[in-house]
């Protein structure tokens, strides 16, 4: 039905009044609510406060579960990426002396954990099991000064040893003097010596002091896994799917985690053609 001109004009005039009316209605409703609230008994207020406390606790718990789920998802992702066979555990203790960087986890010999096994976190290598009890195990972190992991630079395939220090800083040592290394390069375990499972992510090169050919060159590696925030880890029994890291171009400066994902993709497609034979386990 077509609206007439007079009606249209009346609507145009009355429209602002409608807005005023609705605002007034809302204000009246708010005032009613406020009046009701002011008349609420102490019992109602106590119940609301208690409910509020419960909801806050529930929210905190939910957030904790969400964060834990994220971490476990990362661990699961790493397990799938590297086809890891292992057992996961929680960190239940940390070193009680300043000179050693170790953590205690809640899985031990009862779960098949043995001394010397590699331990990984949600985004990379954490350390190595150094002592085992039936229900727990002690893990020496990679950042400990007594740790040493045979490592390889992903892009140049240069081999060296990643060592920890008292400050927790990782350095790549024993690299050939003319080996190519640059900031942003991804460092992986090489598996040489058998102390660490091959092909797991250690971190990225963040600083280089000196240049190629310089015997005193120091290469600093930023660990992909922060030991301070470590809560869940996985003890690696076997990683059959490792060593699939295709040789990357020198321009590759993607993050370590994305690199690991790329490795997983390459593995699933069976495109490891760029990988040198000597690197195969």
């Amino acid at each position: 039905m077509k609206e007439r001109t007079g009606q249209s004009g009346a609507h145009a005039v009355l429209a602002p009044l409608g807005v005023v009316g609705s605002s007034a209605g809302a204000m009246a409703e708010d005032a009613g609510t406020a009046a009701a609230d002011s008349g609420a008994s102490e019992e109602t207020l106590s119940a609301l406060r208690q409910r509020n406390a419960e909801l806050t606790e529930l929210l905190t718990q939910s957030e904790e579960y969400r964060l834990e789920a994220e971490r476990l998802q990362g661990l699961l992702g790493l397990k799938e990426t590297y086809a890891i066979e292992g057992v996961s555990g929680r960190v239940i203790g940390r070193s009680t002396d300043a000179w050693n960087q170790t953590v205690t986890i809640d899985v031990g010999s009862a779960e098949g954990v043995e001394t010397g096994l590699t331990v990984v976190g949600p985004s990379g290598v954490v350390g190595q099991v150094i002592a085992v009890q039936p229900g727990s195990a002690t893990v020496r972190l990679l950042s400990d000064p007594q740790s040493g992991a045979a490592a390889i630079i992903q892009s140049s395939r240069a081999e060296g040893i990643v060592r920890g220090s008292l400050s927790g800083q990782l350095t790549l040592q024993n690299l050939e003097a003319d080996a190519e290394a640059k900031v942003g390069d991804v460092v992986l375990t090489s598996g040489l010596g058998g102390s660490y499972v091959k092909g797991l992510l250690i971190g990225t090169i963040v600083r280089i002091e000196g240049s190629a050919g310089d015997g005193s060159r120091t290469i600093y590696v930023s660990p992909n896994e922060s030991a301070g925030a470590l809560e869940e880890v996985m003890v690696v029994f076997d990683a059959t799917g490792v060593d699939v890291t295709p040789r990357q171009s020198s321009s590759a400066s993607s993050s370590a985690s994305s690199s690991a994902s790329a490795d997983a993709g390459a593995r699933s497609e069976g495109t490891a053609g760029g990988t040198e034979g000597e690197d195969r386990g």
Partner: protein, 168 residues
């Protein structure tokens, strides 16, 4: 009947061990982690110089067994420093707080220095400078503060046992 001083030592030792096992890993400040056991041993040796070296040895051994360092290193440090600090206090005590404070600060720092030397001698691959700057000094200062906090309490309780140093 057990002497009050012995009870103070035993209770204090138990508390120190519990603090070291439970709280110390979470009380890290920069590079320094507290050593409640060393702090207690030094403070107790100065507050109760006649306390003997059995408790320091047991406490040091417990520290070694709880951690991952060379077993016996902290036991040796605790025994030696407890003995030296208590004998020095007996020789130098002039009923002022100056000597106890100097002995506590020097003892905790020296304890960390000796422990660091032992750790490096047992195979830890770190430079002396890194060990000194990165661990010995910060940990020594942290332990000195802890020992200075423990000392008045132990001295007051130790005075019940007829200790040479009485806190009035």
């Amino acid at each position: 009947m057990a002497r009050p001083g012995l009870i103070v030592t035993v209770v204090g030792a138990v508390v120190a061990v519990l603090l070291q096992a439970i709280l110390a890993p979470f009380m890290v400040i920069g590079a320094a982690m507290p050593n409640f056991i060393l702090a207690f041993v030094i403070a107790n040796a100065v507050a109760r110089p006649t306390g003997g070296i059995v408790a320091p040895f047991v406490l040091g051994l417990l520290y070694d067994l709880m951690g991952n360092g060379p077993v016996g290193a902290m036991a040796l440090v605790c025994v030696v420093l407890s003995f030296v600090c208590s004998r020095l206090l007996m020789m130098l005590n002039n009923d002022t707080l100056f000597i106890p404070i100097v002995l506590i600060v020097a003892g905790t720092l020296l304890g960390n220095v000796i422990y660091g030397i032992l750790v490096i001698a047992c195979g830890m691959d770190v430079s002396v400078t890194e060990a000194l700057v990165g661990r010995v000094l910060p940990c020594g200062l942290y332990d000195a503060v802890l020992a200075l906090v423990m000392f008045p309490l132990l001295a007051r309780l130790g005075a019940l046992d007829g200790a040479p140093l009485k806190m009035e």
